[in-house]
């Protein structure tokens, strides 16, 4: 029993020199290291089973998940139970990043609508099923904080953390039962020690502690810095709801009326009507001369405006056909005006003719000595449209040839203080600075009129000649529609818009 009696003295000596502070520090250090080790193990172990482990690096999932927490996610998700759960997914905004947010709902396409707990609004982009990495299962608090600190360059807490780990290591290492001391005991110790397993543990403890500490020290700082991170990204959105733009069903007719026409003959008459109604509301009707029968006019059902109801027009059948102002009272010709007409002629038609103009006499034609004629739109033998006024000389604008192509076209001539303009199909094709047309009295007419003397402003066959001492009644023996006169000059925008509404 010497083995018993001899250690008594020794045990007493140890007890006397072993401080409680040392013991407490050792216990704290041990606990701290084991706590870190356990947390780290829990964080990383699931990776072995194919689960994902993500360090949260931002805080939009607060308070449930803080930056520095580690989310352990099982692969995939159950669409039936996923609502309310936290999923980790590939960030649709920042490619290559992972985002962990809570599922608010599953939309009709099977996409997950997500939201950070700390965000007021749901994430704007729903998450595609294939973008989901996993469903959050375990949350290890704080263990990833070193990663966050490293990422943020927040060195102070990192240093404190490392110092604490180091302190824990030292405290743990110092807290162990000292070996037997004293020369008188040496022989006995060497004899007894190998047979005492508790002493082996005492010696091994610091070694284990150091190994664990090393693992933690390295892993929790640098090792996990390379771990996959997931953001819980802050987001906010603001809405300005239901701004609205609308384009009505613009009608050509209404748009013309909105411009305040002087007269507006839509030529929608049927049968043998002899009066062309004035849609302007001004009562300036026209008269189909010399009569309304099919000898002189064919009433067409395919007018220029496909969206108009009725969509009618007329064809002038004879060289004597004309649509004249009904009123016998002549007017002073305006210096600011717009003449506007739609016309259609086949390519075989090379006679040309007057489509719209101001003229005296009221009907028929007279030489300039007795009559007058300008402010006119006419087609030449090449299908070219001319807009012409007389200002002591022939002042004209003209389009390209070839408008006798079997299609409806819109011709608009304007004169104002800013000069003359000619538009075809809403686009300007010519302009000049002439502001004055012949001072005369007379009547507006459509489809016929004298063109004697305008032969210098003509292309192709059937030239009316330059001799104004004769009469050259040139009826436009083709189709006309939507005859309009305004005593204002339409702007190019107006013209373009009118054509657009066709």
């Amino acid at each position: 029993m010497t083995a018993i009696t001899e250690p008594i003295r020794d045990e007493v000596g140890v007890k006397a020199s072993y401080s409680n502070t040392r013991l407490m520090a050792g216990l704290l250090g041990r606990s701290w290291l084991w706590f870190l080790a356990a947390s780290l193990a829990i964080s990383l172990a699931p990776i072995l089973f194919g689960w994902g482990s993500f360090v949260v690096v931002s805080g939009s999932m607060e308070p449930a998940v803080d930056a520095g927490d580690v989310i352990i996610a099982s692969p995939g998700y159950n669409p039936l139970t996923v609502t309310g759960r936290v999923v980790t997914f590939e960030d649709p905004i920042r490619e290559g990043n992972f985002l962990s947010h809570r599922v608010v709902s599953v939309d009709e396409h099977g996409y997950l609508v997500t939201r950070g707990d700390a965000n007021l609004t749901v994430d704007s982009a729903p998450v595609a099923p294939e973008a989901v990495v996993g469903t959050g299962r375990l949350l290890v608090r704080f263990v990833g904080l070193p990663v966050v600190w490293v990422r943020q360059g927040n060195w102070l807490p990192l240093v404190v953390h490392l110092a604490l780990v180091l302190g824990a290591i030292v405290a743990t290492a110092l807290d162990h039962e000292p070996a037997y001391r004293g020369p008188t005991l040496r022989s006995r110790i060497s004899q007894h020690e190998p047979r005492d397993p508790s002493r082996l543990r005492q010696r091994a403890a610091p070694t284990i502690t150091f190994a664990v500490a090393l693992l933690i020290g390295v892993s929790s700082t640098l090792g996990t810095a390379g771990a996959e991170v997931t953001t819980a990204s802050f987001t906010a959105a603001s809405f300005n709801n239901a701004s609205r733009w609308s384009v009505p069903n613009w009608s050509y007719r209404d748009s013309v009326l909105a411009l305040g026409p002087y007269l507006y003959w839509k030529l929608d008459e049927t049968g043998t009507a002899t009066t062309a109604a004035d849609s302007s509301g001004n009562g300036r009707t026209g008269t189909y001369n010399p009569g309304g029968t099919s000898t002189y006019f064919t009433r067409l059902a395919d007018g220029a405006l496909v969206t108009d109801t009725p969509d009618r027009a007329v064809h002038l059948n004879s060289a004597g056909s004309c649509i004249n102002t009904t009123s016998t009272t002549s007017i002073n010709a305006p210096q600011v005006f717009t003449v506007m007409a739609w016309f259609r002629a086949p390519s075989s038609y090379t006679d040309g003719g007057k489509i719209l103009g101001f003229e005296r006499p009221q009907t028929g034609v007279l030489t300039p000595t007795a009559g007058a004629y300008d402010r006119q739109l006419y087609m030449d033998g090449n299908g070219r449209i001319w807009f012409a006024v007389y200002n002591n000389t022939h002042v004209t604008l003209n389009s390209a040839a070839g408008l006798n192509d079997g299609a409806w076209h819109m011709a608009v001539g304007t004169q104002s203080a800013s000069g003359m303009r000619l538009y075809i199909d809403g686009a300007i094709v010519g302009s000049n600075t002439n502001t004055v047309a012949e001072t005369q009295t007379g009547w507006w007419r459509a489809g016929c009129g004298n063109l004697a003397g305008w032969g210098g402003n003509w292309g192709g066959p059937n030239n009316p000649g330059t001799d104004s001492g004769v009469t050259q009644n040139r009826t436009f023996q083709a189709d006309i529609d939507e005859i309009t006169v305004l005593v204002t000059a339409l702007s190019s925008q107006d013209v373009t818009f009118l054509y657009w509404t066709r």
Binding site: R30, S31, L33, A64, A237, W245, P248
Partner: protein, 210 residues
Amino acid sequence: MAYVIDTSDRRRRRALRAAAPLAALLVAALLVWQGSNAAFSAITDNTANAWTTGSLTLTNNGGGTTYAASTTGIFAETNLKPGDTGAKCITVHSGGTLPGSLRMYRGAVTGTNSAALAAVLDVRVDAVVVSAATNVQANCTGYTGGTSGAVYNGTMNGMSTTYAGAAGTSVALTGGAERVVYRIGWTVNSSAGNSVQSSSAQADLVWEVN
């Protein structure tokens, strides 16, 4: 007796040393269990938001003076025709405490024949960062951003409908309370065809910060 006491002391220390790791493991496990339960339970109540700290908030004045997360559309343009144009301003307020990238995009375009109209509805967005005290209303009085350096210049159709796609509209927010005035100009392209007759296009405008 000293022998007994001494031995028990030593045993006590050993027991404590052995217990420490167990306690640490238990605490770690409990923390994990508690945290997982709190965060990942499907019945977690996440209605009480802690968004006032370290977060992002975004409101806009809807062209007026009252800021709200959601406002009514600043544009209600009717009887449009090709070539028509207009512009209005709207001020977006960021009340967050974090920096972020503010972008503007649109919701789905709805309405009659809306795709045709949205294809010819040219939209130009200019943005300027102002102080949190500045309030520019729909009439753009006080807007100082000019019209150079648009963050978006294209058709309504071409506007992104996602934050990710709206990178071109990014405005950097520094994290304090600040505002961004947007001048939104629109034009019905004068080359718009007759097919946009009887059409309407309605869309939400969205500002998002991330």
